[in-house]
């Protein structure tokens, strides 16, 4: 059985089994005896954990992939694709698919992107795109791909 130790051992969360914790406790008792104080205990525990093979718990990563979907629509006029894609290339986003349709005066454009190599995060790119959307009087939405996968794929 494993339990998680959520101490601040060099800023990392570690996972230890009960027997390992018992071994560390016994080691600390043997080494320190009556001299135990918080600093010394911390030192012995840190040393013991460093010497044992502990499993660090990965920090929670909510965003599984860097794949996002951009949807844009509005009244068609020149410069929309270039303005939108400029923001994306400035942010080092990789366009993996792009398609667009015209329905009368209106256009709809959908771009699949990979933002994992971008120095910016999703909300920063959204902010940049909002500036363009306002200037061009169009709508631009940027949403993580998981949403579409969950809703349309079983």
């Amino acid at each position: 059985m494993f339990i998680s130790y959520f101490g601040k051992l060099k800023g990392k969360k570690v996972k230890l089994s009960e027997s390992e914790i018992r071994a560390i406790a016994m080691q600390a008792i043997n080494e320190l005896g009556d001299n135990a104080n918080p600093e010394l205990v911390k030192e012995v525990v840190e040393k013991a954990i460093k010497n044992s093979e502990y499993v660090p718990i990965p920090e929670t990563q909510s965003q599984t992939t860097g794949r996002v979907i951009l949807t844009s629509f509005g009244l068609n006029h020149p410069g929309i694709v270039s303005n939108v894609t400029k923001v994306l290339s400035d942010a080092n986003c990789d366009i993996t698919d792009l398609s667009q349709k015209l329905m009368g005066d209106f256009y709809t454009m959908i771009i699949m992107l990979d933002i994992s190599n971008s120095p910016k995060d999703l909300s920063e790119i959204q902010n940049d795109l909002n500036v363009v959307a306002e200037k061009m009087k169009i709508k631009v939405y940027l949403q993580h791909e998981d949403l579409f996968r969950f809703m349309h794929r079983v």
Binding site: I69, S123, Q143
Partner: protein, 453 residues
């Protein structure tokens, strides 16, 4: 492309036009380790614990909102029913607990915290009696605390002593908050067969079998279902059920995704997704409009109960297919004040309290956010609650009553809270006495589960 044009646009249409949002992400926190014989220490423990788990709740939810482009309308917290850990407390001490809950909720930036609750379907401990007596003071002196009391269950029957006590509590709460249209009563629910993992305030609490901390999600989306039904046109009822199921399937999947992601940001377990269709006063975001789109002339017309039953059943079937973590109420809410089509139906005289009662036998909850005249006798309120509980225990379902006997108001008047709580016309209550029945006290025995005719 991996996804069809239509699929992507459907999602955008749901979130941008049809008001699809996540109604609530509710953080359930156990307070069972917060008790101390010293009230000051207890208060500090409660405050510290809510802040420890809840301080980033609003921030994390907002981040997920942006990531998926889906609005999360409410970020809330539920706690262990306060009567359980603090059973040794007296009335004054319970009020102190309510105040510190209010303060902690304000500190983490949420509008409501629920779980000032007790489960008394079979009987009451001394602490539970003290908590119930403290409710009028607690709800009038705090803004964010919500209370719920379970007074009946299929296994225990209906605790009529508790029903009577609660009807007095409701009246007193209405009077103590008379300056604000008796808003205290909007934060107080009386339940039968209460679910322990419901994320929807005011009836939420963190049940005794729940883990230390958990994240539950309540979806919304009447607008999405309404548009789907409207665009389906003239099809038969089986086909209509399919249309509803397909739509609810998609919104449930989105709800589960959002819940899991918020839970993962917190680093805590994900609990359940409550697939209830929860209306808001916004135009189109209404259960009443769905019933009308299904074909009844107005809510309250003959056929309304059948339409609601079919809607509720389709929601459950689709939700169960979409997620393995369905819980809470999971059905369709039919509050009056929070649903414009219901308000209109009451104003036109088409929807009566009795029809609403019939509808609660097939919907997910019960008589919700219903304003009644301020001079309604408490024994009549007890009679209404007992009727709701009877529907619950016999049909083995959750029912509830959130009644607002608006102090000083009578038929033709309105209560108006604004925001999500909305506004409601005072409804007519039959002027017949229930006194001698409810006044007997005691307990209506648990019902038989066979011979179901």
């Amino acid at each position: 492309m991996q996804y069809d044009f239509e699929e992507i646009l459907e999602t955008i249409k749901m979130t941008e036009i049809e008001h699809f949002d996540i109604r609530t992400v509710t953080l359930g926190i156990s307070l069972r380790d917060c008790v101390d014989r010293n009230i000051e220490v207890t208060k500090q423990k409660i405050y510290d614990k809510i802040l420890k788990y809840g301080k980033n709740h609003v921030k994390y939810a907002s981040q997920i909102e942006r990531q998926y482009g889906i609005k999360i309308a409410n970020k809330r917290v539920s706690i262990t029913p306060a009567s359980i850990p603090f059973d040794s407390f007296k009335l004054d001490e319970f009020v102190e607990v309510a105040r510190v809950l209010d303060k902690a909720a304000a500190e983490i930036g949420i509008d409501y915290l629920a779980g000032y609750s007790a489960l008394v379907q079979k009987g009451m401990t001394n602490g539970e009696r003290e908590l119930i007596k403290s409710i009028p003071i607690a709800l009038s002196e705090t803004q964010r605390v919500c209370s719920s009391i379970n007074v009946a269950s299929t296994k225990a029957g209906i605790n009529m002593d508790a029903v009577l006590m609660m009807s007095d509590v409701i009246k007193e709460t209405a009077e103590r908050t008379k300056d604000k249209d008796s808003i205290g009563c909007a934060k107080l629910v009386v339940f039968c067969n209460v679910p322990e993992d419901n994320p929807f305030v005011a009836g939420a609490f963190h049940g005794v079998s729940e883990p230390e901390v958990v994240l539950n999600v309540g979806i919304s989306g009447p607008g999405v279902v309404l548009d789907a039904i409207k665009s389906a046109g003239k099809i038969d009822l089986q086909q209509l059920a399919e249309v509803i199921k397909k739509t609810v399937f998609k919104i449930t999947r989105a709800g589960e995704l959002i819940g899991r992601e918020v839970a993962s940001k917190h680093g805590i377990p994900f609990g359940i997704v409550d697939i209830s269709l929860a209306p808001t006063p916004a135009p189109g975001d209404s259960i009443g409009d769905i019933l009308k789109a299904m074909g009844v002339e107005d809510v309250g017309a003959p056929g309304t109960t059948a339409a609601l039953a079919m809607l509720n059943d389709s929601v459950k079937k689709a939700g169960l297919m979409a997620s393995s973590s369905v819980g809470g109420m999971s059905g369709a809410f039919i509050p009056v004040s929070e649903d414009q089509a219901m308000i209109d139906a009451v104003e036109r005289g088409n929807l009566s309290l009795e029809k609403l009662e019939a509808m609660t036998s097939v919907c997910s909850v019960g008589l919700d956010m219903i304003a009644i005249p301020g001079d309604t006798p408490s024994t009549t309120i007890a009679g209404i609650i007992a009727d709701e509980c009877a529907i619950g225990i016999i049909n083995d379902k959750t029912t509830s009553a959130r009644l607002i006997p608006a102090y000083g108001k009578k038929l033709g008047d309105y209560i108006d809270y604004g925001g999500l709580l909305g506004k409601a016309p005072i409804m007519d209550v039959r002027n017949l006495s229930s006194n001698n029945f409810v006044g007997r006290g005691g307990r209506i025995p648990a019902p038989v589960r066979s011979l179901t005719n």
